[in-house]
Symmetry: C2
Subunit: 355 residues, 2 copies
């Protein structure tokens, strides 16, 4: 059996009884019931993931899948294609947005070349190139079905490896010029929404370029006719190697029962693919920020998750993850360290003289 | 001249030229322009506060103003009044929500009794009691004008002291059973919105109790007729000693040119009072989370600030501040540590072989 199928079959749902048990404990803490809102939901969700009420995070890692998209030749991005390769090197140099924020959040990075259109020199980049970028989806399928599966399996293997190394909170990031186009195409096909509704201006397109981007994505869907019931077909025809790799990360996290954080638009497209491949995968996902990319809100609706950071960010790279990590860790402190009303009643009387 | 007047006169606006200079630097960093959204705005705002482009935070402190409200005798809260005193002691014991979250966020707490209806024993509580709680605002003014000013000045003095001790990022929290009622009254008067629009169910009221709460607040406004153009009059007649104390904190932060974070509904009512007393005070405020209290969104509109954490929290105590601190600190890392395109072009050529 392939690693993908093996993974899909081994994903089990969350421990629902532990979620309820955690919520019960949270209800007894020194606060009005439910008054810590999403922090309580996070702590309970984590109990459902690990099967333990008390959890803490030891090691964090953000997996950045880097890959090029053939569709850039149609002018869908305001950035030159070779920026994918340049930025992939820059992640190792520690100078990009996600590097600085991950450092702030005490998280490490795993930079994976799953399909960059260049031979990258830096030894710290994990070389798992499935192809030198995809084909132009507006003319032909972006990749073969086999390539899509191979890239998904790269993601699964990355998570398997990190979990073995003791990482217990994962994040997802990407670098791939043109990947808001592929993500929009994936969202449009999987949700049934029109391209016009879901496509945004990416890193910064003019109105004319924006119209072109929408036309190119429409053409890609039209000529490839991806089968919306077959997620692998959708990824292969109008997706990208970065989306495939990240989809594998979400599946791998679910298989290994470790929490994994969604970043922005591209990361959530990959999360949606994983969710459609196995709905239980969602039990292990945490949303982070609501990307400024217009389709992001629809993506989250399809996923049924609520992003809690409203920072109007649209950089990608995984930049939302370290910020979300901090909030998730805060939620664990709440359930682990807050006193309960029960403990309190023991010594309340002598604490205070009411006049 | 009184400390309040002296403070109001010494508040200067932000350094607008530094905000622009910071934004220019942010525009040159290794990312599409504006793509780090609110993080960029924060870093620029901080430059406007301190007058420096590079800022970092050394010491954080959340000031918790604790006070009772006479209006609780009308059944506006689901909690017993003596919980104010009990929780004030609990802040020192380190077992409440804000304690746990502040510890996570590496922040200290300053617990101030500005009007608790009990003689609190713990020596770590700063005793600046203006009164043993306010009078019942549905029958008479909550406090005298002199008491309101005295409580505001307690807040100013607390900030003066903390700034002298080297704290350079402040948060605001409160404990005072009944204070969503006083905050709603203040918001209704200052904004001109109806009580029905701005009042919520606080910690958890039944429908009947909720109707009563609205009726009590309406009555308080009706019998006291606070002058909306005179903020001190509004605080004195339908506010609380906690709101007054926090209002002083916001004014003190502006005077001392240190950033200060708004927590939830009560904290933002105090921020609104400070803003109305001197509009420049807003230049030193950071929003944090959007409280689940229904009036919170109107309060933020009146203030013209955007909360970026959507956590559905409604605990108060200052619980949103440590979470916001982390994001503010992240924003400073962005402007301080990310590489610029300019630096990058020097060595791009040899980094990557484009095929």
């Amino acid at each position: 059996m392939s690693l993908l199928n093996e993974t899909l079959e081994s994903i089990k749902p969350n421990y629902e009884d532990k979620v309820l048990e955690a919520q019960k404990r949270l209800d007894g803490l020194l606060k009005p019931i439910g008054s810590l809102g999403v922090l309580e939901e996070m702590a309970a969700k984590m109990a459902g993931i690990t099967g333990k009420l008390n959890n803490s995070i030891n090691k964090k890692n953000i997996i950045i899948m880097c890959a090029d998209n053939g569709v850039t030749e149609d002018g869908v991005s305001s950035c030159p294609q070779n920026l994918t390769a340049i930025m992939t090197e820059n992640f190792i140099k520690g100078i990009t947005g996600v590097c600085v924020l991950a450092d702030h959040g005490n998280s490490e990075l795993t930079v994976v070349d799953v399909g960059v259109n260049a031979d990258l020199k830096n030894k710290k980049i994990i070389k798992r190139k499935v192809a030198y970028g995809t084909k132009n989806m507006s003319k032909e399928p972006a990749m073969t079905r086999e390539e899509a599966i191979k890239a998904i399996e790269v993601g699964i293997e990355m998570v398997d490896k990190l979990v073995k190394e003791g990482y217990d909170l994962l994040g997802t990031g990407e670098m791939g010029i043109g990947n808001t186009s592929t993500s929009s195409a994936v969202l449009s096909v999987l949700s049934g929404m029109s391209v016009d509704e879901v496509v945004g201006k990416g890193a910064g397109l003019t109105e004319e370029q924006y119209d072109n981007k929408k036309a190119v994505i429409k053409k890609a869907i039209e000529i490839n006719q991806p089968d919306k019931e077959d997620v692998i077909d959708v990824i292969a025809k109008v997706g990208g190697l970065d989306i495939a790799g990240l989809c594998g990360c979400f599946l791998g996290a679910a298989k290994n029962r470790v929490p994994i954080v969604i970043d922005g638009f591209i990361s959530s497209a990959a999360a949606l693919c994983a969710y459609r491949l196995n709905p239980h995968a969602r039990d292990f996902m945490f949303a982070s920020h609501l990307s400024a990319e217009p389709g992001a809100i629809y993506m989250m609706k399809e996923l049924g998750l609520q992003p809690f950071l409203h920072l109007n960010m649209r950089l990608g790279e995984g930049t939302g993850c370290p910020l979300a990590f901090n909030i998730i860790e805060a939620s664990l402190k709440v359930i682990n360290n807050m006193a309960s009303f029960e403990e309190l009643t023991i010594d309340t009387d002598y604490l205070v003289d009411i006049r």
